[in-house]
Subunit: 336 residues, 2 copies
């Protein structure tokens, strides 16, 4: 368990894309985010109080989250120096970077000396089983996508929050680093060994009998030639009763692959349903989530309406316009 609340690290970042994890925490877990740490050359803010490590500790922070990504996911000298200072000030360290905290001797030595914890959220737990595909109790929703990074985590978190507001038990099941830090638990699916992808999802969303929903964060896309294997195993392990398809309408091509166009929404829906039926024959689609953050509001509203009419499914930008219509659809004819 990672101790909360968090101090969110921005470091020297000046590219909004680099602080995705820190921003996700500020947006979805303001309750456990006491402040932000940034150097004078950092031009970004999360709108949280700026604190140094000692002030953050005094304000109750327990863990510094290195919620930034730089090229290659490297732990640079700047990050190491800051992490050492944070530990001296009494903070644990959590990181979703590719390069592991626990692989840096200066950090492990300081942690041992000071009694601090180093959390590499990209390390899967060691006891992940092979999936068995056995039908399990409970209701599960999975977000799927036309591409990577189209808003699956945001959509899933918005759905969890909307269900809770209606008094429906709902648990967000994280499959990526940011989601794991938001939820305090989950599996870094992209780091799991190939034979265990579906088993990892069975493990983090076990049978439930309280009538509530597991809302599982999707990864990748069946149409992304680099990562479709992850998406396929996730789909099978989730045994979803409901799917929400996430899409970025201004994405010019599949992420990182200028030679691949995005799939048609209806075709992508059908491919996901076909694959999902292997482990749950009753799977259905309950909505479309569009990330319209790059569009003016009137255009975004018009596009949602047009998409809704074309596909016959509630369509929204979850973060901008809410997910009420999708939740209505989800609860309207839900499985017993």
């Amino acid at each position: 368990m990672i101790e909360t609340p968090y101090l969110l690290y921005l470091g020297h970042s000046n590219d909004a894309a680099d602080i995705k994890t820190s921003r996700g925490l500020a947006v979805f877990r303001p309750d456990i985010s006491v402040g932000e740490y940034r150097h004078d050359d950092c031009g970004l803010t999360l709108g949280l109080p700026r604190m140094d490590f000692a002030a953050a500790r005094a304000a109750g922070a327990r863990t510094l989250v290195l919620g930034i990504a730089n090229a290659g996911g490297k732990l640079g000298e700047d990050l190491i120096v800051d992490a050492l200072a944070a530990m001296e000030a009494g903070l644990d360290i959590a990181s979703g970077l590719h390069q592991r905290l626990n692989a840096v001797p200066r950090l492990t030595e300081a942690a041992a000396r000071l009694g601090r914890a180093l959390h590499d959220v990209r390390d899967p737990r060691p006891d992940i089983p092979v999936g068995n595909g056995k039908r399990r109790a409970g209701k599960r929703l999975l977000t799927v996508g036309t591409d990577c990074s189209v808003g699956k985590m945001y959509t899933t978190l918005c759905l969890a929050s909307a269900l809770e507001k209606r008094g429906v038990a709902a648990d967000f099941r994280a499959t990526g680093q940011t989601g794991i830090l938001v939820a305090g638990d989950g599996v870094p699916l992209d780091a799991v060994v190939a034979d265990f992808i579906s088993g990892a999802i069975e493990q983090i969303s076990p049978a439930r009998t309280d009538g509530g929903w597991d809302l599982i964060e999707g990864q990748g896309s069946l149409y992304h030639p680099s990562f479709a294997g992850v998406s396929m195993g996730l789909l099978h392990g989730a045994q979803p009763d409901a799917l929400v398809l996430c899409h970025d309408p201004v994405r010019p091509h599949m992420r990182g692959l200028p030679h691949y166009a995005l799939p048609d929404l209806a075709e992508c829906l059908e491919a996901n349903l076909r694959a999902a039926r292997l482990t749950n024959a009753d799977v259905r689609v309950v909505g479309i989530a569009l990330n319209t953050s790059a569009m003016p509001e009137d255009e975004a509203i018009a596009l949602c309406a047009k998409t809704e009419a074309a596909l016959g499914l509630p369509t929204s930008d979850p973060y901008r316009f809410g997910v009420e219509a999708i939740v209505d659809q989800l609860l309207h004819d839900e499985p017993a």
Copy 2:
């Protein structure tokens, strides 16, 4: 590189299923298999000369292959003791077991002291890239299956050998432990981290311009809920021009999953073609391979004929009846 020729280990085994790797080597690489090592309580043989370690070394053997599988893939005390004795006699050790040779201090110490090599073929190489899906030169065939363990490796090796006999350049690309020992190279796909599945296949079957074929060993099945993610990533990474569908006609249910029936052949073919088209729009199916080893010959011949008529594709048991008709189909209208 693993030094050849091999001494094939049977140990104390009395279950034919346990010696699958040693048997695969004896069948497909008699040229590099000088003998078999078995204890007096082993009731199995590969039909090779029985040798102790010193005799094998004198006969030219360079590596003892621990080509057996026991429950859990464990390196038991019996295996460790035999591996130590083999190293003393001058042999390297290779293993596809889940538990790694290099994780056993008694083995690593002896190897260092004696100048011997320990090969864990289940360890992927460290430099596997993320797949990029870019079309690459060359012709590639991939075996796919209705299930795990339905003869994909045997079929792929039979096709490689048949093409070579016709003077067509053909390379077997291994994706499992036995295949890697047969070929001397390849990737243990089930041990690769999820994000790198398709990249691993792009790496082991790079662009080729000599007019020859890469014959890629398939793994799992799009219809196996535990492992479909591996099969999906493999399909995308392979960019196959041609598929051969492998099937075990007497399999009562999906391997290890009594609650899952095997898919219909035509449906399974269509699902594989649909997924494969993402990275190669021109993919086609060139044949069906049935593992009829549990059937009398007349029934096997009748089933092949019936399947061929139903699906309109050359159908054979590759190991029993050869693959000439499938190779005819493959070469008949091959891509330029």
